[in-house]
């Protein structure tokens, strides 16, 4: 198994390290031809407007990614990756892949002083019916998932009582989280994604 990590900008090195610790081969992706032999793709944290500008200038890499996702390649987007996969970004026409039926709000919690870490329940990480340990999650100028279509599967919420506080979701072969599991050393979400690839 070989997993690509989009390496145009952002914390791609942290994702590559997480894959290494999962004993899976990771490969930084900067150009279209590097996508040929990968089995799954991670889109890391970073600045979504920067990536969007790189979209405008080199469409071939994003066309190839879009085609591969449409033909079933699993993809996991963290924070910026979630924004880049969303089909609707509130108040913005910036470039995106637009493949997942979610509406996001960028910087949903406010500026950096509102960024936070927390321990959250992610039910899909439970094994053998046992309740899973809370996941140490870091939110950095994180987006909010405001709404989604019925085919989207909500996997975790920050606060169970607030409907729009979705922080992890999936749709077919696409997985997104608004936080960064690559920063806290807990490999369970990477392994969850790898199980989608297998």
């Amino acid at each position: 198994m070989k997993i690509g990590v989009l390496a145009l900008q952002g914390d791609f090195a942290e994702h590559l390290q997480a894959l290494e610790r999962c004993a899976v081969q990771g490969s930084p992706i900067r150009r279209s031809f590097q996508l040929e032999d990968i089995d799954g793709l991670i889109i890391p944290g970073g600045e979504s407007t920067t990536i969007a500008k790189l979209t405008n200038s080199d469409n071939t890499i994003f066309d190839t990614i879009t085609n591969k996702i449409k033909s079933g390649m699993p993809v996991y987007g963290t924070c910026m990756g979630a924004i880049f996969l969303a089909n609707e970004i509130e108040g913005s026409s910036q470039g995106r892949l637009g493949l997942m039926s979610i509406k996001v709000r960028r910087n949903g919690f406010g500026p950096q002083k509102a960024s936070f870490e927390s321990y959250i329940d992610i039910p899909c990480l439970a094994e053998n019916g046992a309740k899973s340990e809370p996941f140490h999650a870091v939110f950095i100028r994180a987006p909010l998932i405001l709404s989604h279509s019925p085919e989207v599967n909500v996997l975790a919420k920050l606060d169970q009582s607030i409907s729009e506080n979705i922080i992890m979701a999936s749709q077919n072969n696409m997985l997104v989280s608004t936080f960064h599991p690559e920063l806290t050393g807990d490999l369970r979400i990477h392994k969850y994604f790898l199980s989608m690839v297998e």
Binding site: F12, E47, I140, R141
Partner: protein, 304 residues
Amino acid sequence: MASITADKKGKKETGTLLVKKALPQMLKGGVIMDVVNAEQAKIAEEAGAVAVMALERVPADIRADGGVARMSDPELIIQIIKAVTIPVMAKARIGHFVEAQILESLGVDCVDESEVLTPADEEFHIDKSKFKIPFVCGARNLGEALRRIGEGAAMIRTKGEAGTGDVVEAVRHARAILGDIKKLTVMPAEELMTFAKNIGAPYELVKEIAKTGKLPVVNFAAGGLATPADAALLMQLGVDGVFVGSGIFKSGNPLKRAQAIVKATTHYQDPEILAEVSRNLGEPMVGRTAASLSETEMLAIRGN
């Protein structure tokens, strides 16, 4: 473990070291651009900057005009924050913790305690650990970098010589920092304390780097970068990203040059792309050689 997590569950902790160090991690592989107003900030965002750095005057003008350089007018910073969606950083004077408090209250995402502004304190830096937002600080060598990290900096950048358009000092500082890190990884354990003493760095940080082979925070290049090739040069030397100051808005075609530097920072290992983006960028900033500066004109010696 279970009891700790149960205790913390559902609580949002802001301003922790982990959260402060994570913002610069998201900026890696990107370009942070100096801007003096909202109009320039929009151009920087349009070009693909990962963040903008608000300051009163770009370093080339600070050099030309002389006088005391301070934090920007808060009104300008508010306008810049409103104009863009990317992170906004702003400069405070070395040791001027009140300017930093003001910047934090305005909602900037990161403070640069910067030698480019006139120092407010010639002996002490800001206690950066007290703040909820991250700080970036300049360094010429590993000792300076680790002293700043010891004070709570969540990001380091080379000082270079800002406002010159001459990349030589940024290269010198990047090589000094990265070279000493490499040296530490093969240094016998009994030599680490003396090494820490000689460079004036906290021993615990020296020990940590000897083990990990890297700084515990993100490390960007800054100070004199003016071309796409300059950005790629520093990236190939091993920094995580770049700051470009006067090099963009003192050039003939700021948007085009800024876009080219963004692409060069992404594709820094790809000479074909570097050649393509370097073509027809118009006039670069005029610049002056760092070697021609008198000692009073050198910014990098401030705040060591």
